[in-house]
């Protein structure tokens, strides 16, 4: 059991590329931290620095309080599961799992006991004599997990361990990894580009983009309070609708009154409820200016099936209907919306689209103008220049 801390960690490659920039992270004892982000964002590089496979350009990495920047990977007592599984092709499943133990001079009886126990947990008992090439993708993945487990290391590092599996197996293995990690209670850093994996597995999730940490928070916090446009767009499927809008004073009353401000985009106006204003006091500074409005697709519904209390309504022509069985995705055009703030800002216009995640009973078809209810208590607001969430 251990605690891993990254303090202002930067990785710059010899060609000048900065893969990771002043990254601060802390993974508590027994926690599972997921590093998530698009390809090339630096998450794997960060993981490899923790493993010791990449040198740290600046900053410090601590494991259990000990700075390990210059400690060789083999002396860090960390097990890693690779994207390719990296099973030794010339060794049997048993020998793959026992490999590291043999080099640690653990006695044969102990090795056998540990391997058999891991094989039992991972349901690999009948495959122990096989070579990796005789196993399916899922079985190989389990062997890779087994190889990590038998070592009883201070921490697990997992680099996209499920990305080579088909969709069904990925869901199954995801659940198994989650259960296994919880039962073993080993501190784990897990890298993925799949936000579903990140949200379902992580005790905490670190969203990384361009080598920089965007937000570190529990999954629900990321979903409910994304700190910027990147996180808002990255977490959630389908992604959050991000619409250029202008915040206008609604009635003649004060900013936080019931008749208070409206978000205007194209021909649409949404009144911002008082409780939302209370949660976003910083909004007042944007009156009369451009903002980016965020609406999650799941916070839009078919008004004909019943709207929630306080829901506003948008009339949107539907251009695409996607049937997913348990839900329906409707795509619609919002019309031209104004961009940004400042002189001449209204001249910059674009055609905004909206995606709504609907109840499958919805009867709205392509070509119809849908009456869509918006849960206005779930709106998000972002600064169009900095991309930061507008809260305080």
């Amino acid at each position: 059991m251990s605690r891993i801390e990254l303090e202002s960690v930067t990785k710059r490659f010899p060609d000048g590329t900065t893969a990771v920039s002043t990254l601060d992270l802390a993974v508590g004892d027994g926690e599972l931290l997921v590093l998530v982000g698009p390809s090339g964002c630096g998450k794997t590089t960060a993981l490899r620095m923790v493993a010791g496979l990449e040198e740290v350009t600046s900053g410090t990495i601590r494991i259990d309080g000990q700075i390990v920047n210059d400690v060789e990977p083999r002396h860090r007592d960390i097990a890693m599961v690779f994207q390719s599984y990296a099973l030794y092709p010339h060794l049997s499943v048993f020998d793959n799992m026992a490999f590291s133990l043999k080099y640690r001079k653990i006695n044969k009886g102990e090795i056998r006991a540990r391997v058999l126990e891991a094989a039992r947990v991972l349901e690999l008992e009948t495959y122990l004599e096989r070579k990796p090439r005789q196993l399916s993708g899922g079985q190989r993945q389990r062997v890779a997990m087994g190889r990590a487990i038998v070592r009883q290391p201070r921490a697990f590092l997992m680099d996209e361990p499920l990305s080579n599996l088909d969709a069904k197996l990925r869901v199954q293995m995801r659940a198994e990894i989650g259960q296994l990690q919880r039962s073993l209670g080993v501190t784990t850093i897990y890298v993925t580009h799949d936000q579903t994996e990140a949200m379902t597995l992580g005790t905490k999730v670190a969203v990384i983009a361009g080598g920089e940490l965007q937000q570190l928070a529990p999954p629900q916090e990321l979903y409910r309070r994304p700190v910027n446009l990147f996180v808002a767009g990255f977490i959630g499927s389908p992604p959050m609708n991000l619409i250029d809008a202008v915040l206008e004073r609604g009635g003649t009353s004060g900013f936080s009154d019931a008749t208070g401000p409206e978000v205007v985009f194209g021909p649409h106006r949404l009144r911002v409820p008082p409780q939302v204003i209370a949660e976003h006091p910083g909004l007042e500074n944007y009156l009369g200016q451009g903002i980016v409005l965020g609406i999650r697709p799941e916070h839009l519904s078919d008004a004909a099936l019943g709207a929630g209390d306080g829901d506003a309504v948008l009339k949107v022509p539907v251009s695409l209907r996607e049937e997913l069985g348990s839900e329906v995705h409707l795509h619609g055009a919002l019309g031209e919306v104004a961009h940004g703030s400042g002189p001449g800002a209204d001249d910059v216009r674009s055609l905004a689209t909206l995606v709504a995640k609907m109840d499958p009973r919805t009867a709205i078809e392509v070509g119809q103008t849908a009456t869509i209810a918006v849960a206005t208590d779930q709106l998000h607001f972002f600064d169009p220049l900095t991309g930061a969430s507008i809260r305080r």
């Binding site: 493993a51 496979l53 990977p73 083999r74 960390i78 097990a79 890693m80 690779f82 994207q83 390719s84 990296a86 030794y88 092709p89 010339h90 490999f99 590291s100 080099y103 640690r104 190889r147 070592r151």
Partner: protein, 254 residues
């Protein structure tokens, strides 16, 4: 294909056919006898020279494998300053023909009193074979996933043990390829054997050359010696054939 096969196989047929003739039968190209074999064994210590060839081959190949596997692994998997330049130098050594450096080699070895000995010939063969073998091994190791090497390092192995426990067992096809190619090359070589080995330690190829050194050449005896000389190379090739094909096509895709 058939025409090419005939062109390739005819010399073998010619060699075997004429090995079983006497001098007169060879001149007439009719009749067969074991006369050539009697002449061969009477004039040449065949057994001893085969043993010399085997010793020189084995020693040189052991050195070539020891250097090329470790160097190939280092070039392929250990990133260090100047490795690309050094590798380029090694590869450029492939382009140097033996004949152009044989005299300087002789002079160098003479300074260390290594001429007229197994050691001198072994060192020359090893020096000549190592660049190609290193190139081949490095290419092979580049084809082994970095993840495997890193997994071994994460499993607690040093790079030395990773090489011995993971890279080396996985490179058996390439090792077989190097072994076969170097064996054939060294076994068949004449120049180094003649220059660096004293008469008592001559290889079979150098020994056979002495049969043709007089005013007349006993062709059937020479052919019989050539048959004996060719057998080990063919046997080694057949043993490693499967690995050889795999090794020669390495780096050609997935």
């Amino acid at each position: 294909m058939i025409v090419i096969a005939i062109i390739m196989l005819y010399p073998f047929w010619y060699m075997i056919d004429n090995a079983f003739r006497s001098g007169n039968q060879f001149d007439r190209q009719s009749g067969h006898s074991l006369s050539g074999w009697h002449e061969l064994f009477a004039n040449l210590p065949v057994g001893g020279q085969l043993l010399n060839s085997a010793l020189v081959c084995a020693a040189a190949i052991v050195i070539i494998l020891a250097v090329s596997t470790t160097a190939g692994f280092a070039f392929a998997k250990l990133q260090y300053r100047g490795s690309g330049t050094v590798f380029l130098l090694v590869v450029s050594a492939l382009m140097v023909p033996l004949q152009s450096i044989i005299i300087p080699e002789y002079v160098n070895l003479a300074k260390f009193n290594l001429t007229d000995s197994y050691a001198g010939a072994v060192l020359v063969y090893a020096a000549l074979g190592t660049p190609f073998a290193t190139f081949l091994m490095a290419t092979y190791y580049r084809g082994i996933s970095d993840d495997l090497i890193e997994a071994a390092v994460m499993d607690g192995l040093s790079y030395e043990r990773t090489f011995a426990s993971i890279a080396l067992p996985l490179s058996l096809p390439a090792i077989a390829t190097v072994t076969v190619l170097q064996f054939i090359q060294i076994w068949d070589d004449l120049l180094v054997g003649l220059l660096f080995l004293p008469p008592g330690q001559r290889t079979i190829t150098a020994g056979l050359a002495t049969l043709a050194a007089g005013r007349t050449t006993d062709i059937p005896a020479l052919m019989a010696g050539s048959v004996i000389s060719a057998i080990p190379a063919i046997v080694v090739y057949l043993i490693f054939q499967r690995h050889l094909v795999k090794g020669l096509t390495l780096g050609m895709g997935k």
